[in-house]
Amino acid sequence: MNNPQISEETETLRFGQALNRALGDAMRADDRVFLMGEDIALAGGPFGVTRKLLDEFGQRRVRDYPIAEASMVNLAVGAALGGYKPVVEIMFMDFCTLAMDALVNQAAKAHFMFGEQGPVPLVLRTPHGGGLNAGPQHSQCLEAWFAHIPGLIVVCPSNAADAYGLLRAAIDNPNPVVFVENKRLYSAKSEFPANPQPIEIGKARTARSGSDLTIVTYGNTVHLAEQVAKQRADQNIDIEIIDLRSLQPWDETAVLTSLSKTHRLIVLHEATEAFGIGAEIAARMADIGFDELDAPIIRVGAPFMPVPYSVALEAEFGPNAEQLNTAIDRLLL
């Protein structure tokens, strides 16, 4: 069963609220968990994910940090080495550029490089993606950078239930986790279990079963894939959708299993296609899945340009249903 967390007694919840609940539950479960970020305490976070947590947990555990990303993430490394479990928020993924040393040279390497003397259990939450006409410096999807770095874990949920389950798992995980949240999802409602549980990192979810073609995707584009798959079902095209959920490690077995069934593969994501997450999925399948392939592997991602500001440009920027349909047509027609 691919969705163990969705039981019969479900309500619906917004993605952002699910994250809020996960943070609250994690903090109640373990008093070593604390939060740092810009405007996360008094203001509840720019997207409201940390709303009301200050009231319950106080300034000691919900900390507004000055606008100083580099030291913030490094402080989290130090606190993690000291036995705490910091969850830091970088307000937009684009600002992770300011904290790359902390993440890549320090957090990712400490466990290995110091000979396994102690883990660095920190979670870095950050929103990626466009759609808000926020322009080139507030819309980037940089997850491929982190997936390239041994020692980091990268996760990106597509719905409220997964957001909760993966964030709980990320906080429980002894390793540094980059937890990527798509901005367009924050206010999206989806089913939420009565008794939500952590979801194992590294396991994909079959968002839709199908036999003709596999779309591997994650985050917000899962919904694009679902929408297109639904439309194409009317034309008797039966699409399987794999929601990766974790990007590092990613579920090679799930993708290969699906490919072995459908023999056709599209990798879809909002990030720039070139050198993006999809490149690794495709490259890996062109190796271990070669014998299963009946057609080229097609990637659908953002074009090779910064995310533009204007409504007209961002609307065409993609990835969108048209591009996805073109890819499907190329594989099946």
């Binding site: 810009e38 405007d39 008094l42 203001a43 720019p46 507004d64 000055p66 606008i67 100083a68 580099a70 030291s71 684009d94 600002f95 300011l98 808000l132 006409n133 926020a134 322009g135 080139p136 410096q137 507030h138 074009p303 090779f304 340009m305 910064p306 533009p308 500001y309 204007s310 409504v311 007209a312 440009l313 065409e316 920027f317």
Partner: protein, 322 residues
């Protein structure tokens, strides 16, 4: 116009008032255009802070450069950005100064020495210092002005910038618009030092001023800019300002004490200058006429922007590399 009978200070004030009022009216229009959905994305208005760019740019030429912030409409307009191209950019049109690719957070106009707004807090500061290095290499006596907010002071790169500017004697005037807030957080919760002490650390001239009085501010800025030009020593000018709107348009400002919100009226450099002009004998009718002219200019600019084409995707895609 009977300007001949007027004193120099009054003429000066009238010019500064005009610059400020134009910024104010443009931003009021932006507020409305944002509210009705004509402008997308995020916009950060500088209503209440207009005196700073008005006073600073009064002493700059087009060869001097400024790097502006996310709250930079006033900084851009004062530096001379073309209003048509500015408004078209805000609406994401092809005729926009950035061809609709940047929007409010990335307006730039190299033809008037405006290096570009930045969506990264403190991001423009070291770029402006690099521009100051270019000025130094050019040897033409130009200077660079990095504008920044009080929130930017916590970023490491600001401190690196102070150091190198001082170390290399780079001609730049660091101008802080201190509005007491970094988004929804008070400055005092963000930085434990002060610009004054930092200036002492890096051996720079430092001045603090309440920016309510644009004429006083202009005098001070003029002196400092002259000194930077002459000595090529960097300096810091901290301007106390008041942000009248929210951090971004649409911000309900729940975090802000009601008392503070109630006092905004007394913290307005535009009406402060207006009162001084009336006291100096400028007839109300003249100021009303000035306002009318500005509004007419804005009306026309808004109209052309609304009528302008949307950018072509292919053209944008072709513009990633030079």
């Amino acid at each position: 116009m009977p300007t001949l009978k007027r004193s120099a200070p009054t003429r000066l004030l009238l010019g500064l008032y005009r610059t400020m009022l134009r910024i104010r009216r443009v931003e009021e229009r932006l507020s409305a255009l944002f509210a009705d959905g004509t402008i997308p994305g995020f916009i950060h208005l500088s209503i209440g802070q207009e005196s700073v760019p008005a006073a600073i740019t009064h002493h700059l030429t087009n060869s001097d450069t400024v790097a502006i912030t996310h709250r930079g409409h006033g900084q851009a307009l004062a530096k001379g950005i073309n209003l048509d191209a500015f408004l078209a950019e805000m609406m994401g049109r092809a005729s926009g100064i950035c061809q609709g690719r940047g929007g409010s957070m990335h307006i730039a106009d190299s033809s008037v020495g405006m290096l570009g707004a930045n969506g990264i807090v403190a991001g423009g500061i070291p770029i402006a210092v690099g521009s100051a290095l270019a000025h130094q290499l050019d040897g033409q006596g130009n200077i660079a002005v990095p504008y920044f907010g009080d929130g930017a002071i916590a970023e490491g790169v600001f401190h690196e910038s102070l150091n190198i500017a001082s170390l290399w004697n780079l001609p730049c005037l660091f101008v802080c618009e201190n509005n007491g807030w970094g988004e929804f957080s008070k400055t005092d919760d963000q930085f434990s030092g002060s610009l004054k002490k930092l200036a002492a650390t890096y051996d720079m001239d430092y001045q603090f001023i309440d920016a309510l009085d644009v004429a006083k501010l202009s005098n001070l800025a003029g002196r400092m800019i002259k000194a930077v030009r002459k000595t090529s020593r960097p300096a810091i000018l901290e301007c106390k300002v008041t942000r009248h709107h929210g951090h971004y348009e649409g911000d309900p400002q729940k975090y802000r004490p009601e008392e503070e919100l109630n006092q905004l009226g007394g913290q307005d450099p535009v009406s402060h200058a207006y009162d001084k002009l009336i006291t100096a004998g400028i007839p109300v009718s003249e100021l009303t006429e000035l306002d009318r002219q500005i509004q007419a200019e804005i009306d026309a600019s808004v109209a052309q922007a609304m009528a302008a084409d949307h950018p072509q995707f292919d053209q944008a895609a072709a513009g990633v590399y030079a």
